[in-house]
Symmetry: C2
Subunit: 618 residues, 2 copies
Amino acid sequence: MYLETIDGPHDLLALSSEQRVALASEIRRALIHKLSRRGGHVGPNLGFVEATIALHCVFQGPEDKIVFDVSHQSYTHKMLTGRKAAFLDESKYGDVSGYTEPTESDYDLFRTGHTSTSISLASGLAKARDMRHGGGNIIAVIGDGALSGGQAMEGLDYVGGELDSNMIIVVNDNGMSIAENHGGLYRSLARLRESNGTSPANPFTALGLDYRYVEKGNDIDALIEAFESVKDIDHPVVVHIHTRKGKGYGPAERDQEGWHWHAAFDEKTGEALRPSRCTYLTETGDQLLRMMRRDPEVTGIIAATPTVFDFTPDRRAQAGRQLVDVGIAEEQAVSMASGMAKAGGKPVVGMYSSFLERTYDQMMQDVCMNGSPATFCIGNASIWGWNDVTHLGLFDIAMIGNIPGLTYLAPTTVEELDAMMDWAVAQTAGPVAIRIPAGEIRHSGNRPVRTDYSQTNRFEVTHQGSGVAVIAAGDFYHLGEQVAEQLQRTLGVDSTLINPLFVSGIDSQLLASLQRDHQVVVTLEDGILSGGFGQKVAAFYGNAPMRVLTYGFAKEFIDRFDPAEVMRRNGLEPVAIVRDVARALHDGDGAQGVDAQHTQRAVGNASNGVASHTVAAA
Amino acid sequence: MYLETIDGPHDLLALSSEQRVALASEIRRALIHKLSRRGGHVGPNLGFVEATIALHCVFQGPEDKIVFDVSHQSYTHKMLTGRKAAFLDESKYGDVSGYTEPTESDYDLFRTGHTSTSISLASGLAKARDMRHGGGNIIAVIGDGALSGGQAMEGLDYVGGELDSNMIIVVNDNGMSIAENHGGLYRSLARLRESNGTSPANPFTALGLDYRYVEKGNDIDALIEAFESVKDIDHPVVVHIHTRKGKGYGPAERDQEGWHWHAAFDEKTGEALRPSRCTYLTETGDQLLRMMRRDPEVTGIIAATPTVFDFTPDRRAQAGRQLVDVGIAEEQAVSMASGMAKAGGKPVVGMYSSFLERTYDQMMQDVCMNGSPATFCIGNASIWGWNDVTHLGLFDIAMIGNIPGLTYLAPTTVEELDAMMDWAVAQTAGPVAIRIPAGEIRHSGNRPVRTDYSQTNRFEVTHQGSGVAVIAAGDFYHLGEQVAEQLQRTLGVDSTLINPLFVSGIDSQLLASLQRDHQVVVTLEDGILSGGFGQKVAAFYGNAPMRVLTYGFAKEFIDRFDPAEVMRRNGLEPVAIVRDVARALHDGDGAQGVDAQHTQRAVGNASNGVASHTVAAA
């Protein structure tokens, strides 16, 4: 095996052209084998094997710097830069992340997982180099799908117009986004591919950039020649290469969308090892399809992630013209929804919590300041969502829950989710976001399901007790039930259990009334405490003797975590919570204070958490 | 006067071509006169008089819908749509906002003040029309400066590729952004202007759009002809018109940057009526220039707003290559800064609080998740910043103060501002944002100025007292001093005064220690309470008998407000605060609870505020 001889990019130089082709096959086999065991980004990596080899043959990292957009195509890069064991040795599969990670290697510049940022980041590397009159090539690798993100255009525009020094933008064009591409740009890219790069409608030259085209984007020699020709160039240039997504693995070539990311599979057949489960995202999509059938003006809007509604191609076909995919362009999706809602349309945006981050301004200005009655379904907003540091879903309550005029609902069951979607689309008072639960699917059973949410911030008391009130939001409601049971069992307290339904505000009347016969209020939320829901409750009682214990997650970046472990160390376990409550009830009698350590665990770490796996508790 | 005959757009049809030209002159005179008294966006409005007349001659609003980007060019539109009195009658000058405002007129579709959103919003109007098989023209008006914003590109890409129905995008190209244009796009626009629209490097056709060019962008007849030719078109089209910024007013034509927005001026000479005052933004720019002179790697980064550093052209010349203007492209600015910082550069981003909203994701992912030691100076982050609802500076603590890994500093004086900038640029531990104070410039005097802020969240006790602690952040520190004086005078309480310096976290040790001999803690912040600084303090004491009174602003959109009045109704006055403290001290003795009304005033309105001028207090 040639791969065994590669400890770093310099080892590539000892290989002949034929040997590099053989190496590419070995890499591809290793990738497919690991991916069949662990799942991951199949298509993007298989298509970029040859280009990665060529890049490392031509450029000398880490002096020459390669920035991968999203970095979901960086597996080959990792194999060539000292981390091949994590792809060859099953016991080491977990040693590397699915994205570039500077703590793993000097060849990795940034942690990235959101699209369309590579040109901006690389332009900063270039500018810093220029300010100190340094040298070296700066390379940004960006896929055609990521080009539709506005920031990529901002980067191209800046680099094309303002940067008069070396920078190489490799456009990895496989003709696909996560699903099919959307937008006018792709017609131009297609015409460039068809014309061997000569079509005049060229979005790169229109932004002031030099341009080269390489049709054989999976041919190492052709790529080396192209990269050699731009190495040490004295101005920015785009090298547009035509690659094949999923190349070398039949199932991934045939179903490029299904294999963009894929769970573990049978290597021979491509069959998924575990049948895909019905999730709350499936339920959301089911409900949306029902609503579409009832009302032809209901319109789903997505930004290149049909999975947020579990909208497979057949379900997209059912939706037909009632579904809009704007491409990877979250800002467009959100403002377009505001426009539709203002004109009496019925837009339902589906967006993952992590990607919603790109639309804070559009949510604030275009949606909320305008009171546009659009509906937003926020997916993977949970500790049980994605567990990559680049895709955390724990910040959205703190992010949009503090924007004026937004009603942010947190259903606890499928039935509440359905009812909230129905109500949100029917009402015209203002924007509504719905936090799609994660984790195990739960049903309301005998609990009544509210159908009218127009009384903003009116919480639901699901069991009236006394002494202790547990306010358990969204998919942490079940944890609240467990806490209530534990309070009864170990302390003999018949606590009040509250399903707040709203996480963007508080029910002042209800909270005030709790003071009559409650001494402790517990809040539970599936998100960071800092800036979140519980802190609003704590502030409400700031000038009262009520003891408030807020539970949620520390303000920190965590990566590849086990949800149960993170919950445990944030004190999110019934036994631990009841222990805290017992202490609060006891302290409250004697009006004891708190020490910094105790408070930090009880109310969460409000300081700046920066490290992965930071333990919030002392 | 023809203008007197215009009560709505239909009245334009009674005028001859010559009479419309005369009308344009009348409008221009009225604009100049009002602007000379009140200040406002001079250049954008003077350049778009003829195009506005032509639009309203051709299209029939409100069925045909015109969306103005930023809407700072909509004054003529307001004059033609029933609101001329607000431009002709000085007593009614204040009746209209400086932006489109749906509550004023059905001809105004959205409240907008941030750039680059018009195409997205208009695409939503178009899609809603199409879903119900309706008719009417949808027109987006966008300036060349706003095109550099990524969202504009997302909109063009979506419309060019996906919308197969009527939409007209009027590109109002005056060859200028707020200051000069930056980016490769502008070379293409210039070539299109020079070639009468025939240059092949066309960014619009490259995104799949049909395209027309109108050289005489201030000629009503030429514009009417162009708009007639695209009226009721069955697909999206760009009409690129060449206008003159500031047209018809000599000073504004000669100094287009200085007259983009201008304060009140002498109509004859163009001289400003009041000399421009030195502000904290001037001080920030002064310090940045000093730092640049000391260290040639210090690099300012702005997104088309040199005013955030008070960087007039002469000061930009002093900065030279140490200043980067990326154009209206905030996302590019922030991620580029991350790249520079990662490569050892010393970027100092200047950005207004309101525009920072567009970079939440870049701050979260590219900057904080990567721990990039970039410096951010956040301007107009205050009740004393802009007072337009579209440009509020009250949300930034809640926005970025909850992002892990960011140190958000709030200086209280010029000396602290300077020290924090020095420290932020010198350190390499992680990103630092500095909240530029607003209001009256203050000095530290005898107060010591901390020079090392590496102990994150270590507050500064500026006076040690007992009973009551006042934590007063940033430019509200002076209010804290007044509260302390008032406490002494009326209650005889020698309170502890604390300058927290940090607003992104709390000093747990200090807060814990306050419990020894304090019963009440007061927090003061120049931002919304919801998700902000004070709520973190309240949550810290959630499980303690400490009474916490948090003061800041309600979560609501407010427009054209008087800062003093808004402070008053949020209880932000020494006398009101001391009255609350007295009650808390009294209640605390008897462990009284709070009622919903009382708490709402004392801790601010945590519910969803949507209306302008909502009174938070009951």
